[in-house]
């Protein structure tokens, strides 16, 4: 008789997966259903439930053709810029023997922390045609008019690429790292120059990965909100997300049109993401395949320092310059490139710190960040296990559904959530709970992707051997899978923390009087107070978040020391 132990009934993995997976699916679908319902509502736009259904809203979208065109133009340019930047930096940091590569690679994550909103604010201060610092300097040097105009579509695309395109660098870098260096070495041995090697060997090999990254980035750019909000609105330049925001912010609000726009955008993004997954379906989300190659960098000789300089310039433009600009502006009454001495003031900081809204918004953001990160890793860790390791039926379908939020622009999703949760019997509307649910939902793809990347690197036999020792699924999840995942879980937690603090598109719609968070508060400040005030608030946010991160990181480091050391 095989050894059977008498044990109390514990729910099998199938039951728990059904419950958790089902809940996750519901939370994802619920707002989308409402979104689609709103988009099909003809008749009185204020009536709920809708009076009549029809496609009139979609037909009406032809009126906004220029907005769709704007969105595509900006997204395409931004994607191209991001890919070029990502490829160049990726190649420099993984293939060329630039000094300090490891350090530089870590630093490349910084623009993500600067956040698109801050980047847009800073570049607005730098590049506004009339009042921008750079243009002021240009005119002081004798130039005419303005050197750059950040409020043009290209300017907006530039800002998007700088601050939202860093994911391109991560993806392309990963592709390059997983390439067998012997392939390039063969080219060199046979006499190919470095340039030739890069163009004829490296480029074609990484092309599928780059293409995948391009599609993914394009989908992200379609849903971009901050840059267009700060830079586009003043120039009458609307993209779909900002147009939606305007439509629902006015009285009477035009929910059905906004919903129709949202659904169209969603459809396009969905198609893009589907294509992306087809391209990378072989490797799924594992970019480091078991054996990680440690490629020997190519000796680029004299180019070493210029390429190093390129990296530094990028970091300067994407991180140092924006922060310095905001710093500079925040201490002035009326920000200008050449201030008089009496223009300097601490008033902006005093006001910012005294504003209860700022303090409570900051506190809320940090609390939400910790909650999202903490709950998120467990939820998403479990879901990752469910999808990739449990071998339960339906896991593939759940994976598909949970990746849905990736294809929906945040603002659009929040719009659906707004309606969906407004009528929910439990009064979570207007509270931090709603924001928490929103964050957990929209960050599902991010969290699952990060954690599963680590999970798939864990040899399956490590779990199987636990099984063979008699451990039930819960026991081995707890004693083997989770501990092994810990570094990945911590990385995911920090990522979720940052993502939730910098979130704008969903938060701006879902905030309530007692549930304010900092990034939309900064946007509100941008709209209703001065640039200088906004700069001060943005910097305070960055400082608070940086301190929180350092603290959390230190705590996490403590927790990852392996046994026996």
């Amino acid at each position: 008789m095989p050894a059977g132990r008498a044990r109390s009934w514990r729910p099998g993995p199938a039951v728990v997966s059904l419950v958790v997976g089902g809940a996750a699916v519901l939370v994802v679908f619920y707002p989308i259903v409402y979104l689609i319902q709103a988009s099909l509502s003809v008749g009185d736009p204020q009536a709920r439930p809708p009076e009549a259904y029809g496609l009139a809203n979609f037909v009406d979208l032809a009126r906004y053709a220029h907005i769709f065109w704007n969105t595509i133009v900006v997204s395409v340019v931004a994607t191209a810029l991001a890919i070029v930047l990502g490829f160049a930096l990726g190649w420099i940091l993984t293939r060329a023997n630039v000094p300090g590569r490891e350090a530089l690679e870590q630093l490349m994550a910084l623009p993500y922390y600067v956040t698109p909103l801050m980047g847009a604010l800073a570049w607005s201060l730098i590049g506004s045609p009339s009042g921008g610092f750079l243009n002021q300097v240009w005119r002081a040097l004798g130039g005419e008019g303005h050197l750059i105009d950040i409020t043009t579509p290209y300017g907006i695309a530039w800002v998007m690429a700088l601050f939202e395109g860093s994911v391109a660098f991560v993806m392309i870098g990963a592709v390059m790292k997983s390439m067998d260096p012997a392939l390039e070495e063969a080219s060199q041995v046979l006499g190919g120059s470095r340039l030739r090697t890069m163009l004829k060997i490296t480029l074609p090999l990484v092309l599928p990965g780059v293409l995948g990254a391009a599609i993914f980035v394009f989908a992200e750019m379609l849903g971009s909100f901050s840059a267009a909000l700060v830079l586009g609105l003043p120039n009458r330049f609307y993209v779909v997300t900002t147009a939606m925001y305007q439509l629902v912010s006015q009285y009477p609000p035009r929910f059905p049109q906004a919903a129709a726009m949202g659904v169209s955008l969603f459809a396009v993004m969905f198609a893009m993401v589907w294509i992306y997954r087809r391209i990378v379906s072989r490797g799924s989300y594992v970019t480091i395949t078991g054996k990680a190659f440690r490629p020997r960098a190519m000796d680029v000789g004299g180019l070493k320092w210029p390429l190093f300089a390129v990296c530094l310039v990028y970091l300067f433009i994407a991180v140092v310059l924006p922060v310095l600009t905001l710093l500079y502006a925040s201490f002035q009454r009326l920000a200008t490139a050449f201030p008089r001495l009496d223009n300097f003031t601490l008033a902006n900081y005093v006001t910012a710190l005294s504003l209860d809204a700022v303090r409570s918004a900051l506190a809320n953001s940090l609390i939400l960040g910790v909650a999202t990160a903490g709950l998120g890793v467990f939820l998403m860790g479990f879901l990752s296990w469910l999808i990739y390791r449990s071998r339960l039926p339906g896991a593939g379908a759940i994976e598909y559904v949970l990746m849905f939020p990736q294809a929906v622009p945040r603002l659009v999703f929040a719009f659906g959530m707004l309606w969906a949760w407004l009528v929910f019997p439990i009064p979570i509307y207007g509270t931090l709970w709603l924001l928490l649910i929103a964050y957990l939902t929209v960050f599902l793809p991010l969290g699952i992707r990060t954690i599963s990347g680590v999970m798939l690197q864990i040899d399956r036999t490590l779990e199987e051997s636990a099984q063979m020792c008699g451990a039930s699924w819960g026991y081995r999840l707890r004693t083997v899978t989770m501990p092994l995942l810990r570094p990945g879980l911590i990385a995911a937690a920090l990522l979720l923390f940052i993502a939730s603090v910098r979130e704008l598109g969903a938060s701006i719609l879902l905030m309530g009087p007692k549930a304010k968070v900092i990034t939309p508060a900064i946007v509100e400040a941008w709209f209703s107070t001065s640039t200088e005030q906004t700069a001060a608030m943005a910097l305070l946010q960055t400082l608070a978040v940086a301190l929180a991160l350092i603290f959390l990181f230190a705590v996490a480091k403590r927790a990852t020391r392996p046994a026996g050391e």
Partner: protein, 368 residues
């Protein structure tokens, strides 16, 4: 009636408009009481009278305020209230009037009643809200200091807690003195193309300007303005921020309050009060029906309408409203409201009814 020049505001036309509004639409939600209701008990606290039960208000301990002023402005206002009543916490939502109203109606239609005090910068949503039974009927003892023209019809639903008016402002560095705008027609000057700003369709002030200048100069006035490719913004702070920096050359809807504030900051701007008059719009405050903290709400309303509250509204640099109290002192600049030729719509019903058309046309002008 729509083509005659605007008459100075009289109680009569306002009453007509109010009654028409009430009679025209079915009444939804709560029932506005037709008869005036005197408050239960009047107490004097600090130096004003209130009809609210102060002890109960302090027990409720909180007041939720929805308003359209800038965040620091609202914060300052609420801070002043808290100084007088430390036991009552305050919280707020700030959105441009259009968005604010959209939010509160959406909430209420889903049976969420979260708001105590509503302040709007446009009378159209206020009248609409009254029709829907959104306002609570509260006859503040402080109403005695306000002309009936500045109150709802019937009184007690909402009151004009301040007035703001707008002329034209321009950046002195960017605009040559001979080109400086003086009258409303000057905003159509092609030299200002791509360099002129106004507010978005969410603004009550903008609605008022659109309506009044349309009456003065005909329907084509704004179509011509559209050719200037104006830029639209959410708040006057943005308008003046850009004007001060020279990102725009002329601001077509320059609120006097904004001008005052930025001039003090040292901006090189100037203000023109066109001889035909300056469109004005009230800031409208009312206690919300089914408020979560009804007594605190009433207390706040009474405070806001009293001399204490009005002092804040009028003198706070970020608010700078003109007070409509009979006994109001001059504004910080020394001027009084009567020093300006203010334009108000004569037919509020017509004004309110024009809102939909305004939004559509204005969105088009602004490129949306």
């Amino acid at each position: 009636m729509s083509d005659s020049p605007p008459r100075p505001l009289t109680r009569r036309c306002f009453l007509e408009a109010g009654a028409a509004a009430l009679a025209a639409a079915p009444i939804l939600g709560g029932t506005p009481r037709a008869a005036a209701q005197a408050p239960a008990k009047v107490t004097k606290v600090h130096d004003f009278s209130t009809g609210a039960d102060i002890a109960k208000a302090e027990q409720e301990g909180e007041v939720v305020y929805y308003g359209h002023d800038s965040e620091p402005a609202i914060a300052a206002l609420l801070e002043a209230f808290r100084k007088d009543f430390p036991k009552i916490k305050t919280s707020y939502v700030r959105l441009q009037t259009g968005a604010l109203y959209a939010k509160i109606t959406a909430e209420r239609s889903a049976n969420r009643f979260l708001v105590d005090i509503l302040q709007l910068s446009d009378i159209s949503p206020a009248i609409d809200f009254q029709k829907k039974g959104g306002y609570e009927s509260h006859l503040s003892p402080e109403l005695a200091a306000y002309k009936p023209a500045y109150q709802s019809t019937p009184p007690g639903y909402f009151t004009w807690v301040g007035v703001t008016f707008a002329g034209i402002a321009y950046n002195r560095g960017k605009v040559k003195p001979e080109q400086a705008p003086k009258a409303w027609k000057d905003i159509l000057n092609p030299t200002f193309k791509d360099g002129i700003s106004a507010k978005l369709a969410t603004s009550g002030m903008q609605h008022a300007q659109w309506y009044m200048l349309r009456k003065l100069y005909g329907n084509d006035f704004w179509q011509e303005f559209a050719r200037q490719r104006p830029r639209g913004f959410d708040a006057r702070a943005q308008l003046f921020d850009r004007l001060a920096k020279g990102d725009d050359r002329v601001c077509a809807l320059a609120e006097y309050a904004g001008y005052t504030l930025f001039k003090e900051k040292g901006a090189d701007i100037d203000f023109a009060a066109p001889p035909d008059g300056l469109p004005a719009t009230p800031a409208i405050l009312g206690v919300v029906n089914r408020a979560p903290h009804p007594e605190a709400a009433k207390l706040f309303a009474d405070w806001a309408l009293s001399n204490r509250g009005q002092a804040v509204y009028q003198n706070q640099p970020l608010l700078l409203y003109g007070s409509l109290r009979n006994d109001a002192p001059p504004m910080p600049t020394g001027k009084r409201l009567s020093d300006f030729k203010l334009l108000f719509p004569s037919d509020w019903a017509d004004f309110q009814a024009s809102h939909a058309m305004f939004v559509k046309e204005w969105n088009g002008i602004m490129g949306l």
